[in-house]
Protein backbone atom coordinates (compact mmCIF):
# COMPACT_ATOMS: atom_id res chain seq x y z
CA UNK A 1 0.00 0.00 0.00
CA UNK A 2 2.72 2.43 1.04
CA UNK A 3 5.10 2.01 -1.91
CA UNK A 4 2.40 1.97 -4.61
CA UNK A 5 0.66 4.88 -2.90
CA UNK A 6 3.79 7.02 -2.81
CA UNK A 7 4.50 6.29 -6.50
CA UNK A 8 0.99 7.45 -7.41
CA UNK A 9 1.38 10.49 -5.17
CA UNK A 10 4.56 11.43 -7.05
CA UNK A 11 2.60 11.15 -10.31
CA UNK A 12 -0.17 13.37 -8.92
CA UNK A 13 2.34 16.11 -8.07
CA UNK A 14 3.64 16.04 -11.68
CA UNK A 15 0.03 15.91 -12.96
CA UNK A 16 -1.14 18.97 -11.03
CA UNK A 17 1.85 20.98 -12.23
CA UNK A 18 1.00 20.08 -15.82
CA UNK A 19 -2.66 20.99 -15.27
CA UNK A 20 -1.82 24.45 -14.00
CA UNK A 21 -0.25 25.24 -17.38
CA UNK A 22 -3.84 25.77 -18.53
CA UNK A 23 -3.57 29.28 -17.02
CA UNK A 24 -0.86 30.20 -19.56
CA UNK A 25 -3.26 29.85 -22.48
CA UNK A 26 -4.18 27.31 -25.16
CA UNK A 27 -0.86 27.44 -27.05
CA UNK A 28 1.37 26.57 -24.11
CA UNK A 29 -1.05 23.95 -22.72
CA UNK A 30 -1.45 22.20 -26.07
CA UNK A 31 2.31 22.27 -26.64
CA UNK A 32 2.77 20.69 -23.22
CA UNK A 33 0.22 18.01 -24.19
CA UNK A 34 2.18 17.38 -27.35
CA UNK A 35 5.47 17.20 -25.45
CA UNK A 36 4.03 14.43 -23.25
CA UNK A 37 3.83 12.33 -26.42
CA UNK A 38 7.33 13.13 -27.64
CA UNK A 39 8.89 12.93 -24.16
CA UNK A 40 12.21 11.05 -24.22
CA UNK A 41 12.74 11.62 -27.95
CA UNK A 42 14.91 11.11 -29.89
CA UNK A 43 16.15 8.22 -27.69
CA UNK A 44 12.65 6.84 -27.42
CA UNK A 45 10.12 6.52 -30.22
CA UNK A 46 7.04 8.76 -30.04
CA UNK A 47 4.68 7.89 -27.15
CA UNK A 48 7.08 5.27 -25.75
CA UNK A 49 7.86 7.28 -22.63
CA UNK A 50 4.15 8.00 -22.22
CA UNK A 51 3.32 4.31 -22.46
CA UNK A 52 6.04 3.40 -19.96
CA UNK A 53 4.48 5.89 -17.50
CA UNK A 54 1.01 4.46 -18.22
CA UNK A 55 2.13 0.86 -17.66
CA UNK A 56 3.94 1.72 -14.41
CA UNK A 57 0.83 3.56 -13.21
CA UNK A 58 -1.41 0.65 -14.16
CA UNK A 59 0.84 -1.70 -12.17
CA UNK A 60 0.81 0.60 -9.11
CA UNK A 61 -2.98 1.02 -9.25
CA UNK A 62 -3.36 -2.77 -9.47
CA UNK A 63 -0.91 -3.37 -6.61
CA UNK A 64 -2.66 -0.72 -4.49
CA UNK A 65 -6.10 -2.17 -5.16
CA UNK A 66 -5.06 -5.77 -4.52
CA UNK A 67 -3.36 -4.91 -1.21
CA UNK A 68 -6.33 -2.77 -0.18
CA UNK A 69 -8.65 -5.71 -0.88
CA UNK A 70 -6.44 -8.15 1.06
CA UNK A 71 -6.08 -5.75 4.01
CA UNK A 72 -9.82 -5.05 4.15
CA UNK A 73 -10.69 -8.77 4.03
CA UNK A 74 -8.25 -9.46 6.83
CA UNK A 75 -9.55 -6.58 8.95
CA UNK A 76 -13.20 -7.57 8.56
CA UNK A 77 -12.34 -11.18 9.46
CA UNK A 78 -10.49 -10.03 12.59
CA UNK A 79 -13.72 -8.66 14.13
CA UNK A 80 -16.48 -11.16 13.38
CA UNK A 81 -18.85 -9.80 16.07
CA UNK A 82 -19.43 -6.05 16.01
CA UNK A 83 -19.89 -3.92 19.11
CA UNK A 84 -23.50 -3.32 20.09
CA UNK A 85 -22.61 0.20 21.22
CA UNK A 86 -21.68 1.91 17.98
CA UNK A 87 -19.46 4.93 17.89
CA UNK A 88 -17.32 6.61 15.27
CA UNK A 89 -13.76 5.41 15.17
CA UNK A 90 -10.81 7.44 13.85
CA UNK A 91 -10.78 10.67 11.83
CA UNK A 92 -12.97 11.36 8.78
CA UNK A 93 -10.00 10.97 6.41
CA UNK A 94 -9.14 7.60 7.97
CA UNK A 95 -12.69 6.28 7.93
CA UNK A 96 -13.21 7.20 4.28
CA UNK A 97 -10.04 5.51 2.97
CA UNK A 98 -11.86 2.47 1.56
CA UNK A 99 -14.87 4.15 -0.05
CA UNK A 100 -12.72 7.13 -1.01
CA UNK A 101 -10.42 4.75 -2.82
CA UNK A 102 -13.35 3.21 -4.69
CA UNK A 103 -14.61 6.69 -5.67
CA UNK A 104 -11.16 7.62 -6.95
CA UNK A 105 -10.87 4.36 -8.94
CA UNK A 106 -14.25 4.99 -10.60
CA UNK A 107 -13.20 8.57 -11.31
CA UNK A 108 -10.00 7.39 -13.04
CA UNK A 109 -12.15 5.36 -15.46
CA UNK A 110 -14.35 8.41 -16.16
CA UNK A 111 -11.31 10.68 -16.44
CA UNK A 112 -9.63 8.45 -19.07
CA UNK A 113 -12.88 8.17 -21.07
CA UNK A 114 -13.27 11.95 -20.85
CA UNK A 115 -9.82 13.37 -21.54
CA UNK A 116 -7.65 10.54 -22.93
CA UNK A 117 -9.90 8.49 -25.21
CA UNK A 118 -12.34 11.47 -25.48
CA UNK A 119 -15.24 8.97 -25.60
CA UNK A 120 -17.53 11.02 -23.37
CA UNK A 121 -16.06 14.45 -24.10
CA UNK A 122 -18.35 17.14 -25.58
CA UNK A 123 -15.57 18.56 -27.77
CA UNK A 124 -13.46 15.44 -28.41
CA UNK A 125 -10.76 17.01 -30.59
CA UNK A 126 -7.56 14.91 -30.50
CA UNK A 127 -4.47 17.11 -30.09
CA UNK A 128 -6.48 19.98 -28.55
CA UNK A 129 -6.43 19.18 -24.82
CA UNK A 130 -7.12 22.83 -23.86
CA UNK A 131 -10.40 22.95 -25.76
CA UNK A 132 -11.36 19.50 -24.46
CA UNK A 133 -10.72 20.59 -20.85
CA UNK A 134 -12.87 23.70 -21.34
CA UNK A 135 -15.62 21.53 -22.88
CA UNK A 136 -15.63 19.13 -19.93
CA UNK A 137 -15.83 21.84 -17.30
CA UNK A 138 -18.58 23.60 -19.21
CA UNK A 139 -20.93 20.74 -18.29
CA UNK A 140 -22.42 20.49 -14.80
CA UNK A 141 -21.72 16.75 -14.49
CA UNK A 142 -18.09 17.20 -15.55
CA UNK A 143 -17.60 19.64 -12.70
CA UNK A 144 -19.51 17.61 -10.09
CA UNK A 145 -17.67 14.37 -10.88
CA UNK A 146 -14.27 16.08 -10.96
CA UNK A 147 -14.63 18.19 -7.82
CA UNK A 148 -16.06 15.29 -5.77
CA UNK A 149 -13.19 13.06 -6.83
CA UNK A 150 -10.58 15.73 -6.03
CA UNK A 151 -11.99 16.18 -2.52
CA UNK A 152 -11.71 12.40 -2.12
CA UNK A 153 -8.11 12.57 -3.37
CA UNK A 154 -7.30 15.23 -0.78
CA UNK A 155 -8.72 13.16 2.10
CA UNK A 156 -7.03 10.02 0.77
CA UNK A 157 -3.63 11.72 0.54
CA UNK A 158 -3.99 13.28 3.98
CA UNK A 159 -4.21 9.91 5.75
CA UNK A 160 -2.32 7.98 3.08
CA UNK A 161 0.93 9.93 3.03
CA UNK A 162 1.31 9.93 6.80
CA UNK A 163 0.38 6.21 6.98
CA UNK A 164 2.88 5.32 4.27
CA UNK A 165 5.59 7.01 6.31
CA UNK A 166 4.60 4.87 9.32
CA UNK A 167 4.55 1.66 7.28
CA UNK A 168 8.01 2.36 5.90
CA UNK A 169 9.31 3.04 9.41
CA UNK A 170 9.91 6.76 8.86
CA UNK A 171 7.57 7.89 11.65
CA UNK A 172 8.74 8.80 15.12
CA UNK A 173 7.44 10.90 18.00
CA UNK A 174 9.74 13.83 17.12
CA UNK A 175 8.89 13.69 13.42
CA UNK A 176 5.15 13.15 13.81
CA UNK A 177 4.07 16.81 13.60
CA UNK A 178 6.25 17.44 10.55
CA UNK A 179 4.89 14.37 8.75
CA UNK A 180 1.30 15.34 9.53
CA UNK A 181 1.97 18.88 8.29
CA UNK A 182 3.47 17.58 5.03
CA UNK A 183 0.49 15.21 4.58
CA UNK A 184 -2.05 18.01 5.11
CA UNK A 185 0.00 20.40 2.96
CA UNK A 186 0.21 17.93 0.07
CA UNK A 187 -3.51 17.18 0.33
CA UNK A 188 -4.39 20.86 0.32
CA UNK A 189 -2.04 21.83 -2.55
CA UNK A 190 -3.15 18.89 -4.72
CA UNK A 191 -6.86 19.43 -4.14
CA UNK A 192 -6.65 23.19 -4.59
CA UNK A 193 -4.44 22.82 -7.67
CA UNK A 194 -6.75 20.33 -9.36
CA UNK A 195 -9.96 22.18 -8.46
CA UNK A 196 -8.48 25.48 -9.68
CA UNK A 197 -8.99 24.35 -13.30
CA UNK A 198 -12.79 23.68 -13.21
CA UNK A 199 -13.28 26.80 -11.08
CA UNK A 200 -11.34 28.85 -13.64
CA UNK A 201 -13.48 27.47 -16.49
CA UNK A 202 -16.71 28.14 -14.55
CA UNK A 203 -15.70 31.71 -13.76
CA UNK A 204 -14.50 32.34 -17.31
CA UNK A 205 -10.82 32.84 -16.42
CA UNK A 206 -10.05 29.94 -18.75
CA UNK A 207 -12.20 29.73 -21.87
Amino acid sequence: MAVSGLLMLGYLVAHVMGNLKVFFGPREFNEYGHWLRTMGAPVLHEEWALWIVRLVLLATVAAHAVSAYQLSRRDIKARPVAYAHKRRRASYATRTMRWGGVIIALFIVWHILDLTTLTVNENAQPGHPYENVVATFSTWYGNVVYITAMLAVGLHVRHGFWSAAQTLGAGSASRDRALKAVASGLALVLTAGFIAVPVAVMTGVVS
Binding site: L71, D75, H85, S91
Partner: protein, 248 residues
Amino acid sequence: MKLKLRVWRQRDAAATGEMAAYEVDGVSEDMSFLEMLDTLNEELLLRGEDPIAFDHDCREGICGACGLVINGDAHGPERTTACQLHMRSFRDGDTIDVEPWRAAAFPVIKDLVVDRSAFDRIIQAGGYVSAPTGAAPEAHATPVPKPDADFAFEHAECIGCGACVAACPNGSAMLFTSAKVNHLNVLPQGVPERETRVLDMVATMDAEGFGGCTLAGECATACPKGIPLPSIAAMNKEWLRANRKVKR
Protein backbone atom coordinates in the same frame (compact mmCIF):
# COMPACT_ATOMS: atom_id res chain seq x y z
CA MET B 1 -26.82 6.77 41.80
CA LYS B 2 -29.21 4.54 39.93
CA LEU B 3 -28.01 3.11 36.65
CA LYS B 4 -29.32 1.04 33.79
CA LEU B 5 -26.85 -1.49 32.43
CA ARG B 6 -26.88 -3.46 29.23
CA VAL B 7 -24.37 -6.28 29.63
CA TRP B 8 -23.22 -8.96 27.21
CA ARG B 9 -24.26 -12.35 28.62
CA GLN B 10 -22.92 -15.54 27.06
CA ARG B 11 -23.10 -18.87 28.90
CA ASP B 12 -19.93 -20.35 27.39
CA ALA B 13 -17.67 -20.15 24.35
CA ALA B 14 -20.07 -22.16 22.18
CA ALA B 15 -23.26 -20.31 23.18
CA THR B 16 -24.68 -17.33 21.33
CA GLY B 17 -24.79 -14.36 23.63
CA GLU B 18 -26.98 -11.28 23.87
CA MET B 19 -27.15 -7.94 25.60
CA ALA B 20 -29.15 -8.25 28.85
CA ALA B 21 -30.64 -5.28 30.73
CA TYR B 22 -30.10 -4.73 34.47
CA GLU B 23 -30.73 -1.97 36.97
CA VAL B 24 -28.33 -1.14 39.78
CA ASP B 25 -29.30 1.08 42.67
CA GLY B 26 -27.22 2.60 45.45
CA VAL B 27 -24.11 3.15 43.35
CA SER B 28 -21.64 5.55 44.99
CA GLU B 29 -19.60 7.82 42.75
CA ASP B 30 -16.49 6.68 44.66
CA MET B 31 -16.98 3.09 43.53
CA SER B 32 -14.80 1.73 40.78
CA PHE B 33 -16.56 0.32 37.74
CA LEU B 34 -15.71 -3.20 38.91
CA GLU B 35 -17.12 -2.51 42.39
CA MET B 36 -20.33 -1.40 40.72
CA LEU B 37 -20.41 -4.75 38.88
CA ASP B 38 -19.67 -6.51 42.21
CA THR B 39 -22.74 -4.77 43.69
CA LEU B 40 -24.86 -5.97 40.80
CA ASN B 41 -23.44 -9.50 41.09
CA GLU B 42 -24.31 -9.66 44.82
CA GLU B 43 -27.89 -8.80 43.93
CA LEU B 44 -27.91 -11.41 41.17
CA LEU B 45 -26.59 -14.05 43.61
CA LEU B 46 -29.30 -13.16 46.15
CA ARG B 47 -31.89 -13.56 43.41
CA GLY B 48 -30.38 -16.94 42.54
CA GLU B 49 -29.14 -15.79 39.12
CA ASP B 50 -25.80 -16.43 37.49
CA PRO B 51 -23.42 -13.54 38.29
CA ILE B 52 -21.76 -11.66 35.43
CA ALA B 53 -18.29 -13.07 34.75
CA PHE B 54 -15.53 -10.51 34.19
CA ASP B 55 -11.74 -10.61 34.43
CA HIS B 56 -9.96 -8.74 37.23
CA ASP B 57 -6.98 -9.19 39.48
CA CYS B 58 -4.95 -6.37 41.06
CA ARG B 59 -7.61 -3.66 40.77
CA GLU B 60 -4.74 -1.16 40.87
CA GLY B 61 -4.39 -0.61 37.12
CA ILE B 62 -1.11 -2.47 36.82
CA CYS B 63 -1.87 -6.12 36.02
CA GLY B 64 -3.81 -5.86 32.75
CA ALA B 65 -6.40 -8.47 33.73
CA CYS B 66 -9.54 -6.35 33.54
CA GLY B 67 -10.92 -5.38 30.20
CA LEU B 68 -14.41 -4.14 29.41
CA VAL B 69 -15.72 -2.15 26.49
CA ILE B 70 -17.86 0.48 28.20
CA ASN B 71 -20.15 2.51 25.93
CA GLY B 72 -18.00 1.52 22.96
CA ASP B 73 -14.73 2.59 24.60
CA ALA B 74 -12.11 0.07 25.72
CA HIS B 75 -11.80 0.61 29.52
CA GLY B 76 -14.48 3.30 29.33
CA PRO B 77 -14.40 7.09 29.01
CA GLU B 78 -11.27 7.77 31.10
CA ARG B 79 -7.76 6.94 29.97
CA THR B 80 -7.18 4.22 32.55
CA THR B 81 -8.07 0.59 33.20
CA ALA B 82 -11.67 -0.40 33.97
CA CYS B 83 -10.71 -1.11 37.60
CA GLN B 84 -9.43 2.45 38.02
CA LEU B 85 -12.44 3.99 36.31
CA HIS B 86 -14.72 5.51 38.92
CA MET B 87 -18.47 5.90 38.80
CA ARG B 88 -18.11 9.70 39.07
CA SER B 89 -17.44 9.51 35.32
CA PHE B 90 -21.16 8.67 34.91
CA ARG B 91 -24.39 10.41 35.87
CA ASP B 92 -27.43 9.21 37.77
CA GLY B 93 -29.88 7.55 35.38
CA ASP B 94 -27.28 6.79 32.70
CA THR B 95 -27.59 3.71 30.53
CA ILE B 96 -24.22 1.99 30.21
CA ASP B 97 -23.36 -0.68 27.62
CA VAL B 98 -20.78 -3.24 28.77
CA GLU B 99 -19.26 -5.60 26.23
CA PRO B 100 -16.25 -7.90 26.03
CA TRP B 101 -13.18 -7.23 23.85
CA ARG B 102 -14.31 -8.07 20.30
CA ALA B 103 -11.70 -9.79 18.14
CA ALA B 104 -11.45 -13.09 16.31
CA ALA B 105 -8.16 -13.71 18.15
CA PHE B 106 -9.86 -13.09 21.55
CA PRO B 107 -12.75 -15.59 21.69
CA VAL B 108 -15.32 -15.02 24.45
CA ILE B 109 -15.11 -17.66 27.21
CA LYS B 110 -18.07 -16.44 29.27
CA ASP B 111 -19.92 -13.12 29.49
CA LEU B 112 -17.23 -10.43 29.54
CA VAL B 113 -14.23 -12.78 29.82
CA VAL B 114 -12.18 -13.36 26.69
CA ASP B 115 -9.27 -15.72 26.02
CA ARG B 116 -6.17 -13.55 25.54
CA SER B 117 -3.65 -16.38 25.20
CA ALA B 118 -2.95 -15.19 21.65
CA PHE B 119 -0.92 -12.43 23.37
CA ASP B 120 1.00 -15.07 25.34
CA ARG B 121 1.91 -16.85 22.12
CA ILE B 122 3.19 -13.58 20.62
CA ILE B 123 5.38 -13.15 23.73
CA GLN B 124 6.58 -16.76 23.48
CA ALA B 125 7.68 -16.07 19.91
CA GLY B 126 10.25 -13.49 20.97
CA GLY B 127 9.22 -11.32 23.92
CA TYR B 128 12.19 -12.43 26.06
CA VAL B 129 15.96 -11.97 26.36
CA SER B 130 18.45 -14.84 26.63
CA ALA B 131 20.18 -13.99 29.91
CA PRO B 132 22.81 -16.26 31.44
CA THR B 133 21.79 -17.53 34.87
CA GLY B 134 23.88 -16.89 37.98
CA ALA B 135 24.44 -13.94 40.26
CA ALA B 136 23.12 -10.54 39.17
CA PRO B 137 25.74 -8.75 37.05
CA GLU B 138 27.38 -5.56 38.26
CA ALA B 139 24.97 -2.72 37.58
CA HIS B 140 27.40 -0.64 35.52
CA ALA B 141 28.59 -3.56 33.39
CA THR B 142 26.08 -2.81 30.63
CA PRO B 143 25.67 0.92 30.12
CA VAL B 144 22.38 2.03 28.54
CA PRO B 145 22.11 5.56 27.13
CA LYS B 146 19.41 7.57 28.92
CA PRO B 147 17.27 8.17 25.79
CA ASP B 148 17.29 4.42 25.08
CA ALA B 149 16.39 3.62 28.67
CA ASP B 150 13.49 6.09 28.51
CA PHE B 151 12.29 4.63 25.19
CA ALA B 152 12.49 1.09 26.58
CA PHE B 153 10.67 2.07 29.76
CA GLU B 154 7.90 3.85 27.88
CA HIS B 155 7.17 0.59 26.04
CA ALA B 156 7.76 -1.64 29.06
CA GLU B 157 4.71 0.04 30.60
CA CYS B 158 2.43 -2.12 28.40
CA ILE B 159 0.40 -4.40 30.68
CA GLY B 160 -0.94 -6.56 27.84
CA CYS B 161 -4.59 -5.85 28.62
CA GLY B 162 -5.65 -5.93 24.96
CA ALA B 163 -7.45 -2.57 24.90
CA CYS B 164 -5.54 -1.71 21.70
CA VAL B 165 -7.04 -4.71 19.92
CA ALA B 166 -10.51 -3.98 21.31
CA ALA B 167 -10.38 -0.32 20.25
CA CYS B 168 -8.87 -0.91 16.81
CA PRO B 169 -11.51 -0.80 14.04
CA ASN B 170 -9.57 -3.70 12.46
CA GLY B 171 -8.87 -5.76 15.60
CA SER B 172 -5.15 -5.34 15.03
CA ALA B 173 -2.50 -6.12 17.68
CA MET B 174 0.17 -3.85 16.23
CA LEU B 175 0.44 -1.54 19.27
CA PHE B 176 0.84 -4.44 21.73
CA THR B 177 3.44 -6.20 19.59
CA SER B 178 5.31 -2.96 18.91
CA ALA B 179 5.45 -2.15 22.62
CA LYS B 180 7.04 -5.52 23.35
CA VAL B 181 9.43 -5.41 20.39
CA ASN B 182 10.57 -1.83 21.04
CA HIS B 183 11.00 -2.42 24.76
CA LEU B 184 13.59 -5.16 24.22
CA ASN B 185 15.10 -4.24 20.84
CA VAL B 186 16.48 -0.90 22.02
CA LEU B 187 18.33 -2.40 25.01
CA PRO B 188 21.77 -4.09 24.84
CA GLN B 189 20.27 -7.11 26.65
CA GLY B 190 17.87 -7.57 23.75
CA VAL B 191 20.44 -7.36 20.95
CA PRO B 192 21.14 -11.11 20.46
CA GLU B 193 17.52 -11.72 19.37
CA ARG B 194 16.95 -8.30 17.80
CA GLU B 195 16.10 -9.58 14.30
CA THR B 196 14.40 -12.88 15.11
CA ARG B 197 12.33 -11.19 17.83
CA VAL B 198 10.55 -8.77 15.52
CA LEU B 199 10.20 -11.25 12.66
CA ASP B 200 8.84 -14.08 14.82
CA MET B 201 6.54 -11.91 16.94
CA VAL B 202 5.01 -10.25 13.86
CA ALA B 203 4.62 -13.64 12.14
CA THR B 204 2.85 -15.04 15.23
CA MET B 205 0.66 -11.94 15.49
CA ASP B 206 -0.45 -12.44 11.87
CA ALA B 207 -1.01 -16.18 12.36
CA GLU B 208 -3.23 -15.55 15.40
CA GLY B 209 -5.81 -13.81 13.21
CA PHE B 210 -5.41 -10.21 14.33
CA GLY B 211 -6.33 -7.61 11.72
CA GLY B 212 -3.97 -5.42 9.73
CA CYS B 213 -2.99 -1.92 10.81
CA THR B 214 -4.50 1.05 8.95
CA LEU B 215 -3.00 3.64 11.32
CA ALA B 216 -6.40 4.71 12.59
CA GLY B 217 -4.79 5.60 15.92
CA GLU B 218 -7.63 4.29 18.12
CA CYS B 219 -5.24 1.89 19.91
CA ALA B 220 -3.01 4.64 21.28
CA THR B 221 -6.07 6.66 22.36
CA ALA B 222 -7.47 3.69 24.29
CA CYS B 223 -4.19 2.47 25.80
CA PRO B 224 -4.37 2.93 29.59
CA LYS B 225 -0.57 3.11 29.73
CA GLY B 226 -0.12 5.67 26.97
CA ILE B 227 1.92 3.56 24.55
CA PRO B 228 2.34 6.10 21.74
CA LEU B 229 1.21 5.54 18.15
CA PRO B 230 4.72 6.13 16.64
CA SER B 231 5.70 2.83 18.35
CA ILE B 232 4.12 1.09 15.36
CA ALA B 233 6.40 2.95 12.95
CA ALA B 234 9.39 2.06 15.15
CA MET B 235 8.46 -1.63 14.96
CA ASN B 236 7.97 -1.40 11.18
CA LYS B 237 11.47 0.06 10.95
CA GLU B 238 12.85 -2.84 13.00
CA TRP B 239 10.93 -5.35 10.85
CA LEU B 240 12.25 -3.89 7.58
CA ARG B 241 15.79 -3.83 9.02
CA ALA B 242 15.50 -7.44 10.18
CA ASN B 243 14.32 -8.56 6.75
CA ARG B 244 17.38 -6.97 5.17
CA LYS B 245 19.73 -8.60 7.71
CA VAL B 246 18.24 -12.06 7.96
CA LYS B 247 18.07 -14.30 4.92
CA ARG B 248 15.27 -16.77 5.40
